[in-house]
């Protein structure tokens, strides 16, 4: 119990100190150009509204994280879509992605490992050691009881 309180106290103490600034206001780091382009392509593949695809390409051009997309192809696809040349835009979008990348939109933003994670790692290791030690003590106590 005492150990658990210590863990909670350590994490609570760490929390305000670790509350970092994050990204600039308004910037959504999960909206990478690559993921947005992939969404635009899928929207066209599925025959959904090309205006929605255009919105995605707008956002892709503005995205901070361009993630290796071919910007020239992206701009060309955007322009084609603006002209409502859906077929051409579709074609061009295929060339936007860096070769060999997965065409899956999985996780696009994961916080980098920083001080918070290092504290969590140390606390985690201590908690594991505490649990293992407690279990060893219990085994001995139970043997004595039996």
């Amino acid at each position: 119990m005492r150990a658990l309180l210590l863990v909670v106290a350590a994490l609570a103490l760490a929390s305000p100190a670790l509350a970092d600034e994050g990204m600039p206001e308004g910037e959504n780091p999960a909206q990478t150009a690559q993921a947005l382009s992939l969404q635009a392509l899928a929207i066209l593949d599925w025959g959904l509204s090309h205006e929605e695809a255009l919105e995605k390409l707008d956002a892709a051009l503005e995205a901070e994280d361009k993630g290796g997309v071919d910007l020239r192809a992206l701009r060309a696809a955007h322009e084609a879509l603006e002209q409502e040349e859906v077929e051409k835009a579709h074609e061009l979008l295929h060339g936007v992605f860096p070769s060999g990348v997965s065409h899956l939109a999985g996780v696009t933003y994961r916080p980098a490992v920083g001080v918070g994670e290092i504290v969590a790692l140390i606390v985690g290791a201590l908690v594991i050691a505490l649990g293992a030690f407690g279990l060893m003590r219990r085994r001995r106590a139970e043997r004595a009881l039996a």
Partner: protein
């Protein structure tokens, strides 16, 4: 402080007096009833560890609920905001990893009770309540996946809506048409943070009361008569020793979740677009992915329904007195087959490219 285990407390003076004061008022020493020694082995503690993981999920979930906005226009960015603050990200990652640990310990618990034939008379009720818990846990994982409202969530949500349509009148509650005034995302949130956890808590209560009443099943080794004889002679320990073990195992689970959260914090994908499919489900639902590719949407209903039907029927189909897995080879072979099929489907789901559009993109 030592638990009321009947062990020498090893403490005198204030600690003992405090303990007596608390015990007189709350009757905690009633928890020191005898349980067989084998109940303290890890295999027989997995249910308690699952409960421990669930309580940690509730604790981290309460914190996340203070920061999450379930309205469709704000859900995704509120998760991004949580993820951008160090402490928020840590709690979110803990919740994420604990949910995986929860489903792993839950499944191992199910497999242990299967392997030791704990579903047999008179414990059919425990098994059936466990099956309900399994379903509720699946519901919690599914609704949790939807809340982050990124592309993966949007696709899970789309499946929810399609399955609701498929189920017709039975799916009405899960469909957006149920009401115009509250979005389905908000209703999913309500299910995730209140309906499902409350139901799970209630059913866990029934499950544990039944275990207390019917006692833990005997060690499953030997003929039925040998098992009965050994059970009569087995050393008994206070139940509080079992609780202490659960507490330490839960501490270990918390430590592992902290380490995993530190090494691989939970991430998020781009805000979701409705009607497209460019993600794969999380690992615990990945086995359904190839099935959907081969057999279509119906398989998402049929495969889990078959699994649950099998679990429900099991205690009524296998009625022999045998408990030792070595003397129930065909049932064990069936379970191994199911686990293997799950593993193969999961790996296949992981390595295959999505069927619909990626082929085109080459």
């Amino acid at each position: 402080m030592d638990l009321p285990s009947g062990e020498p407390a090893g403490r005198t003076g204030t600690a003992r007096r405090t303990w007596e004061w608390i015990d007189q008022r709350f009757g905690l020493s009633a928890l020191a009833y005898p349980v067989p020694q084998h109940a303290n082995a890890l295999a027989y503690t997995l249910g308690g560890v699952t409960l421990g993981a669930f309580l940690l999920l509730v604790a981290t979930g309460i914190y996340l609920a203070q920061l999450y906005d379930p309205t469709p226009t704000a859900a995704h960015s509120s998760i991004v905001d949580i993820t951008e603050s160090s402490f928020g990200s840590l709690v979110r990652s803990l919740h994420f990893w604990l949910s995986s640990i929860f489903i792993v310990t839950l499944t191992l618990h199910l497999l242990r009770t299967f392997a030791t034939a704990a579903y047999k008379a008179p414990r059919e009720g425990i098994w059936l309540s466990g099956t309900v818990l399994f379903l509720l846990a699946g519901g919690l994982l599914f609704t949790g996946t939807i809340l982050k409202w990124d592309q993966e969530a949007q696709e899970a949500f789309g499946h929810n809506v399609e399955i609701a349509d498929l189920l017709g009148i039975f799916g009405f509650w899960f469909s957006p048409e149920f009401t115009d005034s509250v979005s389905l995302l908000i209703r999913t949130y309500v299910a995730h943070v209140s309906i499902l956890p409350l139901l799970l808590g209630g059913v866990v209560g029934v499950h544990l009361l039944l275990v207390k009443r019917l006692k833990i099943s005997p060690l499953a080794s030997g003929t039925p008569d040998e098992i009965d004889r050994r059970a009569r002679d087995e050393v008994q320990l206070p139940f509080t020793t079992h609780l202490a073990r659960i507490a330490y195992w839960t501490l270990l689970v918390l430590g592992i979740a902290l380490v995993l959260s530190a090494l691989r914090p939970a991430g998020i994908g781009p805000e979701g677009v409705e009607g497209i499919e460019i993600t794969k489900p999380p690992w615990y639902f990945l086995w359904l992915y190839p099935l959907e590719n081969w057999f279509g949407l119906d398989s998402l209903v049929v495969a889990p329904a078959l699994l649950v039907a099998g679990l429900v029927l099991l205690p009524f189909l296998d009625r022999s007195r045998e408990r030792d897995p070595r003397r129930r080879r065909s049932w064990i072979a069936l379970a191994v087959l199911v686990v293997l099929a799950w593993a193969v489907l999961t790996v296949y789901g992981y390595v295959t490219v999505p069927v619909s559009h990626v082929e085109e993109m080459g």
